[in-house]
Amino acid sequence: MASPQKGKGQPQDDPAGMGDLSERLKDLSGRIQAEKAEYAETRKLPETSMGDATGYAKGYRLVSEFVAGTLVGGLIGYGLDYLFGTMPILFIVFLLLGFGAGILNMARAANRVAPAQDRVGSNPPPPAALDDEEED
C-alpha cells in the first residue's frame, strides 16, 4: 500500500499532487468494488446451504397456503348462504373457488405462476390481451 507504485498518473508527476490522489482514489474504489463482488459471491453460498432448513419452512408454507385458501372460500360461501338463505349452493361454489385459490396460492408460493403484482401499474399488457379496455 505504502509503496509509491503509481499506475498511469505519470505525466504530471508532482509527488503529492491531485492527479496522484485521484488515481489512488480510483484504484481504491476499484478494489472496494472487487471486494464487494467477492463478498456477494461468498454470501450466496450459506444461503443455498440454508436451503435445507428453509425447505422445511417452505413445505409448511405450501400446506398452509392451500388450507387457508380452501377455508376462506368455504367460509365466504357459508356466510353468503347464511345471508341469502340458499343453503348449500353458494357454499359448494365458493368452496370450489377457494380450492382453486388455494392451488393458485400454492403455485405462487412455489414460483410456478407469475405474482399478481405484475399486472398493476405501468407495464404494458402482453400482446395476447385483446380484451382489456381500461389500460391507461
Binding site: 422445511y56 419452512a57 387457508a68 385458501g69 377455508l71 396460492n105 399478481a116 403484482q117 390481451a129
Partner: protein, 250 residues
C-alpha cells in the same frame, strides 16, 4: 396437570378481574409474557448498543447480526424504498422470535400459541398492505385482482379466485405460526409425558422410556429450529405482501 398437554396454554388472571365497558381487561399470564417479550427485546438491544465499540463485543455482535439479518431481508425483498417498513418488520420479527424462544423455557407461556395473537398480527399486516396499496396507487391497485389476457367470459371467476387468494393471506399467515407453535408444544409435552408415565412402571418401564426421551430431546432441537423459522417466515412474508403494495410494476 402432569400429563395434560393442553394445560400449558390456559390463560388465567394474575390480578383480580376488572372490566372496562363490559370487556374483560384483566392482567393475564399472556399479557405478562407479552410485557416480558418487549422488556427482553428492549433490554437486550439497549445492552447491545450501549458500548458502541468499533470492534463489537459478543453482545454487540449478536445485536448487529439481528439488525443486519432483518435489514438485508427488507432490502432484498422490498428494495431501497422498503426502508420505511424496516421498523415494522424488525418489530414483528423480534416480537415473534422472542415470543417463540421464551416459549421454549419450561413453565413459560407461549404467546404465539394463541390464534388470537397471531391472527391479530396477520390481519394487521394485510390491512396495512391494503392501505399502502390504495394510498400509493389509488383505485388502480384493484387491478391486482384483474389479470391481463383472460377472456371476458371467465374473468369473473378468475377475479373471484384472486380475491379469495388475497383474503386467505391473513388466514395462512396467522394459522401457520399458531399451528406450528401449538402442535410443537403439544407433541413435546406428550413425549415428555410418556417418559414420566413409563418411568413409574419399574425397571422395564425405565428401559422403555429411553426411546421417548431421545425423541423429546430431538424434538426440543427441532422446536428451536421451528421457533426461529416461523419468525423468519412471518417476517419475510410480511415483506413479500408489502411488496405487492409497493412495487406493482416490478
Amino acid at each position: 396437570m402432569a400429563n395434560d398437554p393442553i394445560h400449558q396454554f390456559q390463560i388465567h388472571d394474575l390480578t383480580e378481574k376488572f372490566n372496562i365497558g363490559g370487556y374483560d381487561f384483566s392482567f393475564t399470564n399472556s399479557a405478562l409474557f407479552m410485557g416480558a417479550i418487549v422488556a427482553v427485546i428492549t433490554g437486550f438491544l439497549l445492552l447491545a448498543s450501549s458500548k458502541r465499540a468499533l470492534v463489537p463485543g459478543k453482545t454487540q455482535s449478536v445485536g448487529e447480526l439481528w439488525y443486519e439479518f432483518v435489514h438485508n431481508m427488507v432490502r432484498q425483498v422490498l428494495g431501497p424504498e422498503g426502508k420505511k417498513f424496516f421498523p415494522l418488520v424488525f418489530s414483528l420479527f423480534s416480537f415473534v422470535l422472542v415470543a417463540n424462544m421464551l416459549g421454549m423455557f419450561p413453565y413459560f407461556f407461549t404467546v404465539t400459541s394463541h390464534v388470537i395473537v397471531t391472527a391479530s398480527l396477520a390481519v394487521f399486516v394485510v390491512a396495512l398492505v391494503v392501505v399502502v396499496g390504495l394510498w400509493k396507487h389509488g383505485l388502480g391497485w384493484f387491478k391486482l385482482f384483474v389479470p391481463h389476457g383472460v377472456p371476458l367470459l371467465i374473468l369473473p371467476f378468475i377475479s373471484l379466485i384472486e380475491i379469495i387468494s388475497f383474503l386467505s393471506r391473513p388466514v395462512s399467515l396467522g394459522l401457520r405460526l399458531f399451528g406450528n407453535m401449538l402442535a410443537g408444544h403439544i407433541v413435546l409435552k406428550v413425549f415428555a409425558g410418556f417418559v414420566v408415565t413409563l418411568g413409574a412402571l419399574g425397571i422395564g418401564g425405565v428401559l422403555g422410556a429411553i426411546a421417548p426421551l431421545a425423541m423429546a430431546v430431538a424434538l426440543t432441537a427441532l422446536e428451536f429450529l421451528v421457533a426461529f423459522l416461523q419468525a423468519f417466515v412471518f417476517a419475510i412474508l410480511t415483506c413479500v405482501y408489502l411488496n405487492d403494495a409497493l412495487h406493482p410494476g416490478h
